[in-house]
């Protein structure tokens, strides 16, 4: 069905569910076009597995445009594969060469249990956001958007942090499985904007507390997260977050207490 000229060997992690243990299984990927995305290559493999009556390989994906954050493969030792600033769905087979062996694993972190094969459960990220990653405003009780002036440089800086797609590659890349880059992205976005000021210090405390509760490791400033983040979220966010966190701890204890109750 395809018109390609690459033949590859895949070593794929297969695991029925979170309760069972998994293992690597080797597959051939044949006639792969260099123009295919990595996921399209897996589609081809899955089609042939299905024809043989075998279970296709399960992996998470949806938009296939690099924006939903759902795809999550650990390819040859890198989350989202070897290319910088690219998600798995936007990784193309021209990055690999004919005859190559490719190892494909799920994100590995205790806070991200395996769902099946290559898909993991990242709901811990949602729970961190639920703990405070928002501005408390009800629908309909707002002022004119231009009544809040935001200098372009600030808006741009907030935007850079807001581009996080919640994929979890930062956690997967980190030897401590720390979620600091992810959490700091939201903390920074809202911490920079005037709308985020009232809850700035309570927010950082609640989010960090939830992050710890979920079992993510601590940050030792190795920087693997930044290097592997497909959206190139900056390490400086972590510094900003630490700053807010310590300010909150030192000066705002009482205020925060009030906010939380």
């Amino acid at each position: 069905m395809s018109n390609g000229n690459m033949n590859l060997t895949l070593k794929v992690w297969r695991q029925k569910n979170a309760q069972t243990s998994g293992k690597f299984v080797t597959y051939k990927a044949e006639n792969i076009s260099p123009d295919m995305s990595f996921l399209e290559m897996l589609d081809v493999v899955n089609e042939s597995l299905t024809h043989k009556g075998d279970e296709p390989i399960n992996f998470d994906h949806d938009c296939r445009e690099g924006i939903c954050g759902m795809c999550s493969l650990y390819i040859n030792g890198h989350p989202h594969g070897p290319k910088r600033g690219v998600t798995t769905c936007q990784l193309h087979m021209r990055t690999f060469h004919d005859g190559e062996t490719i190892t494909i694993e799920p994100w590995r972190a205790s806070a991200f249990p395996v769902v099946k094969d290559l898909a993991v459960d990242r709901s811990a990220f949602d729970r961190i956001q639920q703990a405070g990653g928002y501005v408390s405003v009800n629908t309909g009780v707002t002022t004119d958007g231009n009544a809040i002036l935001i200098p372009k440089v600030i808006a741009d800086e907030a935007f850079n942090s807001a581009t996080c797609i919640g994929c979890g590659a930062c956690v997967a890349a980190c030897k401590n499985a720390s979620a600091m880059l992810f959490v700091s992205a939201k903390v920074t976005q809202l911490g920079l904007l005037p709308q985020g000021q009232p809850e700035r210090y309570s927010r950082v405390q609640s989010m960090v507390a939830q992050m710890d509760e979920e079992g993510f490791g601590s940050c030792t400033n190795t920087g693997a997260c930044e290097a592997e983040c497909p959206k190139e979220i900056k390490l400086t966010n972590i510094a900003r977050m630490n700053n807010d966190f310590f300010s909150a701890k030192l000066f705002r204890e009482e205020e925060i207490h009030e906010v939380k109750h």
């Binding site: 279970e55 445009e65 769902v115 707002t142």
Partner: protein, 644 residues
Amino acid sequence: MSLDAKIPEGPLAQKWSKHKFDLKLVNPANKRKYDIIVVGTGLAGASAAASLAELGYNVKAFCFQDSPRRAHSIAAQGGINAAKNYQNDGDSVFRLFYDTIKGGDYRAREGNVYRLAEVSVNIIDQCVAQGVPFAREYGGLLDNRSFGGSQVSRTFYARGQTGQQLLLGAYSALNRQIHAGKVKMYTRTEMLDVVTIDGHAKGIVTRNMITGSIDTHAGHAVLLCTGGYSNVFYLSTNAIGSNVTAAWRAHKRGAFFGNPCYTQIHPTCIPVTGDHQSKLTLMSESLRNDGRVWAPKTVEIAEQLRKGTIKADQVKEDDRDYFLERKYPAFGNLVPRDVASRNAKEMVAEGKGVGGSGFAVFLDFADAIKRLGEDTVRAKYGNLFDMYIQITDENPYKQPMRIYPAVHYTMGGLWVDYNLSTTVPGLYALGECNFSDHGANRLGASALMQGLSDGYFVIPYTLGDYLAKIGPKKVDTSHPAFEATKKDVVTYINKLLALKGNKTVNEYHRELGHIMWEYCGMARTAEGLTKAKGLIQALKADFWKNAIVTGENEEVNASLERAGRIADFIELGELMVDDALMRNESCGGHFRVESQTADGEALRDDENFAFVAAWEFKGENQPEELHKEQLVFEAVHLSQRNYA
């Protein structure tokens, strides 16, 4: 059954305020006695769930992805319209209303569209308050750009990621309510049926996509916010998971389906290169602000370009045909999507298509780079250019992009009245899932507007009216209707799992897509549509004999999930073809070859087709019954759309 759109009486500009006043209210103390089910947590669903929870209702929200933040809305790039007139260029609620009606080729409801334009202003304020980082000017004010089909600058944007930022805003409002315990969120849960009792929607049946558990949920009302069905064409710009299942199953339980054949074809997508592709990628329409669309003037030059013996930048100015600028001087490259798409298709039909396949025209930034500098162009469109490079391995800063139309959005969907109620009382449809507001052709930056308008500003009022009327008496899943519907679902799943044939469901999907694109795509004929109907019926019969579905229900099973969705797409495809065949006129992107002007433009037939087609399901393999909602135009005069 007669269709009542329930459009309020009175002058257009006062309809919504008056209606809001007339709607019944639920006493604040009683709100917590009501349970609301929201299926889908994209822009429409997340904004609705959050707003209803803020009001005090108990909300259960569902999505099939692992997190609400991954809904397809996240992919929207270009922007969202609002009649703020911040640019002082003459915009107004009426102008946005007028452009949208005209852009919909006079096949949308005046009342709804006016309300949409009216609340558009509040949407921006709401999102700003949530911390959505819209683009700003140096002075700190919100920035705007213009979009196809309009001559004012009213589109708000967040680089090329407007959808992501708006969705993250709605997601954060939703998160706040989940934290507060007012919303219970069910992720990786797929709704498979609607439960009705005495003709009212009272709940849903779902499948837990991890364990396979089939569960029932009861509520006083059910809101479907499940998005559009462009994936019926197999290749589209939609996320892979986007599907019609929720809407289609609701249709089979009595909800009429409105204008199923109305599909938005988007002119600026990265062209197909081979049959390995699983989806097409949209390049934001905002690119047409600075990019110039052209094709070579002669077939000979096109031939050379296709073979690669010359490159686009070597084609002399005189040998280029900037066909949109030539034919539509007032709008130029910013003509609406259907006009731009049809013209690109014509170029290809004349043999002037470019790229390896010949199915493409150029979108050229050379002039913009000369005029503004590469850095400015990079600042404006950098991420889109990067995406293009990623996919095609070509550099659009050096060579023009290749673009071609692709299926993008569906204006058809469940029929709803002014209150967003389907024909099943208690069952509502919001956002792309409903048919309303866009007519035959959606203008850019208006779907995001509609999703958020429905969720934040319409349903919180109109739902209250229904709830106040039915009262807070508890519904629960012990009613036999729940068990009966659940049984139907289980039977259906078992039927799918029993399919052990020789063709994958993906292969059926691709075949369906070919049929739909070929016969029910940008140009349609009675003959082609009749043929398509036969092909789809044959495909359906074959599917139920020869498809392969692997695995079991009691586990993660992507094969089973897809099988159900594709079976529904096949049935929907047949209805789309029936609808297209019935609509013997050209409107919006729906070009019936039999109905065109002397110079080949789309020709509407207002005499016979100024209506919404609402189809009623009459049983398996029975022809559906057509109901017509006549469209009444009071504020605008029906006129031939003209962008010249």
